[in-house]
Amino acid sequence: MSDPITRPTVGTPRESVDSSAVEEKREGTLPRGIDRLGERKRARLEQLAQATADKGGVSLLRDAFRRLRRNPTAIVGASIVALFVLVAIFAPLLAPHDPAQRFDELTKNLTVDSIPGASSEFPFGSDPLGRDFLSRMIHGSRQTLFVGVLATLIGLALGVLIGAIAGAFGGWVDNILMRVTDVMLALPALLLAISLVAMASRSSQWTVILAVAIVNVPIFARLLRGSMLAQRESDHVLAARALGVKQGSIVLRHMLPNAMTAVIVQATLTLSTAILEAASLSFLGLGDPDINRAEWGLMLGVDGQRYFEVRPELAYYPAIAIIVVALGFTLLGEGMREAIDPKSRR
C-alpha cells in the first residue's frame, strides 16, 4: 500500500536539489560544487529517511477514518449530522426570536381557519399560538439531539454491560441474560417504548429517554455478546491465556476492545432510530407535556395534524427535519460500518 500523500513530498525536494546543484556547478568552482553536492545528497537522504520515519504507522481507527473520508455517502451523512449538531449547539444564537414568546403581530391575524404564513420577520410564519415557527424549529433540534444522544448512550451503556457479562462468562449467566433480551426483542420496539412510558406515573422528557434507551438495550447486548463469544475463541485470546494473563485483563483488554467496533457502528445507526422513536412517542402524546418546549415530534403530532388543512407547512417542516436528520445518522453509520469492517477493506 503506497501512501499517496508522501509521494509528492518525496518528489519535490529532488527537483529543487537537482536544479540548484546544476546552477551551483555552472557558476562556482568545481571542487566546491562537488562538495556542496555531497552535502546536499546527504541532506536529501536524511530528508527521505525522515519522510519514511514520519509515516510511521496508522492505527486502526485512523485507517478507518481515512476510508470514511473517501466514501461520498458517509461525507453526506457526516455533513448533515455536523450541521444538525451545530444548529443544536448554537440554537439560541441562530434563532431570530424567543421560541416561547407569543407575538402580537402574529396573534392578531390568528383565526381558526387561518394561520399567518411567511413574512420577512417570520420566515416560516406562525405556529397556532402565534409563536415564531422558525425559532421553534431551531430550538427543536436541541431537544431532538439531547433525547437521541442520551437515549442511545444509556442504551449503549446498559447493553454493553449485559453483553460483556454474557459474552465473558458464557454458560448459564449467558443463558439467563440472553433469554431476558429475547423477551425484549420479541416485542415491537415502539410498542415496548409505549408500554414503558405508560408505566411511568407522569410522563416527562426523562421517561421518553429511558423508554427509548431500554428498547435499544437488547440490540446492543446481543451484538456485543456475539462478538465477545467469537473473540473468546480467537487465537490472540488463547495466546493471552497461554501467557497467564488474568481473566479480568483478558476480558477488558483483549476481548472487549476487539468486540466493540460493531457496537460503536450500531450506536450511530441507533441514534437515528432513537430520534425517530422519541419523535413517535411525542407524536402519540406520550412525550413531555410542557407545551412551551419545542420538539419536532410534538410539533408534527399536535399542531401539524390538527391544522394540516389550514397550514400544511406546520407538518411538513418538522417531518422533513426528522427525516433528514435520521437519514444523516443512518448514512454516517453505514459509512462507518463499511470503513471499520475489515472484510470490506481493499
Binding site: 510511521g56 488463547l238 491465556r241 497461554a242 501467557l243
Partner: protein, 328 residues
C-alpha cells in the same frame, strides 16, 4: 531429573450424543533442561492438542484429560486454575502458529510485551516498556523504539513472529512450547526464525518442545524426536539416529517423501498411501496398518507395544523397516 515429564497423557473429546474421540492416546515423553524435543506428525495426529493439554488451555468442557504432566515436581494437570495461570507465561512460554492472529490487533506491540512483564514480574508500565524494548532488540527487530508503538497489522509476518517470541521469552521461562512456529512464514523467514530460536535456546538454556510437521525443522533443531501417529507415539529416537535409520514404516515414509537435491531428475516423489482418515482404532490394531507397506497379521491384533530399541529409542511396530533399507 527431567524438567518436564509427561506420563500417559490422554485427551478424549466427548460431546453429548457423539462417540468419544481420543485425540491423544497415552503419550509419554520427557524433556531435560536445555533440551530440544520434537513432536512430529501430520495434521490431526494430536500434536497441538498435546501442547494445549500441557498448558492447561483446553476448554473446560467437552474433553477429558488424564495422565500426568510433571513439571518441576508438580503435576500441572492437578494444579488449581489460579496456580496454573501463574505458571503460564512465567515458567512455560508458548509460541503459536499464526503470528498475525495470535497478537491482539487493537493493542500496540509494546503494550503486549509489557503486559506479561507486568503480570509475572510485577514491573510497572514504564520499566516494562524499557524491558520490552530490549526484548524486541534481542529477537532482532530493527528500530524497536518505533515498533513498540505500532500495531500488529503494521509490521511484517516475520517481525510479528519475532515479537511473539519476545513475548513468550519475556519472563525467561524454563520451557518453551513452539507450536508450528514457522508454518505461516515463507522459507527465508522460516530459516531466520529457526536460527533465532536456536540461538535463544542456546543462550538462555530454555528447554524447547518443537511441534511441527516439517522434518526440515526437526533436522536443524531437535535433540530427540517423537513421531506421533493417530494420537500415539510410534517412534522416538535421537535426531541423527532417526534420520539415519528410521525404523517405523511411517517415519520411513515421511523421510522418503521429503524432496532431496541429490535425487535423480524426473523421479516421482515417494508418498505414503492413503490419508490420516484411513486408520483403524488403536485397540483393534496398529492405526497405521491400512497405509503401511510392511503390514503383517500381528498388526491387526491389538495395539503393538512401545518397545525400547537397541539404539536407545523406542518403537511401536511389529515389523519395522530393517536397518539395511534405510534412507539412502
Amino acid at each position: 531429573m527431567s524438567l518436564l515429564d509427561v506420563r500417559d497423557l490422554s485427551v478424549v473429546f466427548q460431546r453429548r450424543g457423539e462417540r468419544p474421540f481420543t485425540a491423544v492416546d497415552k503419550v509419554s515423553f520427557s524433556v531435560e533442561p536445555g533440551q530440544t524435543v520434537g513432536l512430529v506428525g501430520e495434521s490431526g495426529c494430536g500434536k497441538s492438542v498435546t501442547s494445549l493439554a500441557i498448558m492447561g488451555l483446553l476448554p473446560r468442557r467437552g474433553n477429558k484429560v488424564t495422565g500426568e504432566v510433571n513439571f518441576d515436581g508438580a503435576d500441572l494437570l492437578k494444579l488449581r486454575p489460579d496456580d496454573m495461570r501463574d505458571r503460564r507465561g512465567r515458567d512455560i512460554g508458548m509460541i503459536f502458529q499464526d503470528p498475525l492472529s495470535s497478537l491482539n490487533p487493537v493493542v500496540p506491540i509494546g503494550v503486549q510485551v509489557a503486559e506479561v512483564l507486568e503480570r509475572h514480574r510485577g514491573m510497572d508500565r514504564k520499566v516494562a516498556m524499557k524491558e520490552a524494548r530490549e526484548l524486541l532488540d534481542a529477537v532482532g527487530i530493527p528500530d524497536p523504539m518505533r515498533r513498540l508503538k505500532e500495531y500488529p497489522h503494521q509490521i511484517s509476518g516475520g517481525m510479528r513472529q519475532r515479537a511473539l517470541i519476545a513475548i513468550a521469552l519475556a519472563c525467561k521461562p524454563r520451557l518453551l512450547i513452539a507450536d508450528e512456529p514457522t508454518t505461516a512464514l515463507d522459507v527465508t523467514i522460516q530459516a531466520q526464525i529457526l536460527t533465532l530460536l536456536k540461538q535463544l535456546v542456546d543462550e538462555t538454556g530454555t528447554a524447547l518442545i518443537m511441534i511441527t510437521h516439517d522434518l526440515g525443522v526437526v533436522a536443524g533443531l531437535c535433540d530427540t524426536v517423537n513421531v506421533l501417529y493417530g494420537g500415539k507415539v510410534v517412534e522416538r529416537a535421537e535426531r541423527h539416529e532417526l534420520f539415519a535409520r528410521p525404523r517405523h514404516p511411517y517415519t520411513h515414509g515421511l523421510l522418503n517423501s521429503v524432496p532431496r537435491l541429490d535425487s535423480p531428475r524426473g523421479e516421482r516423489l515417494h508418498a505414503i498411501r492413503g490419508s490420516v482418515a484411513d486408520n483403524i482404532p488403536w485397540v483393534e490394531g496398529c492405526a497405521f496398518a491400512p497405509r503401511c507397506d510392511n503390514v503383517v497379521d500381528a498388526c491387526l491384533e491389538g495395539t503393538p507395544p512401545l518397545e525400547p530399541t537397541a539404539t536407545g529409542g523406542d518403537l511401536r511396530c511389529n515389523n519395522p523397516v530393517s536397518e539395511e533399507v534405510a534412507v539412502p
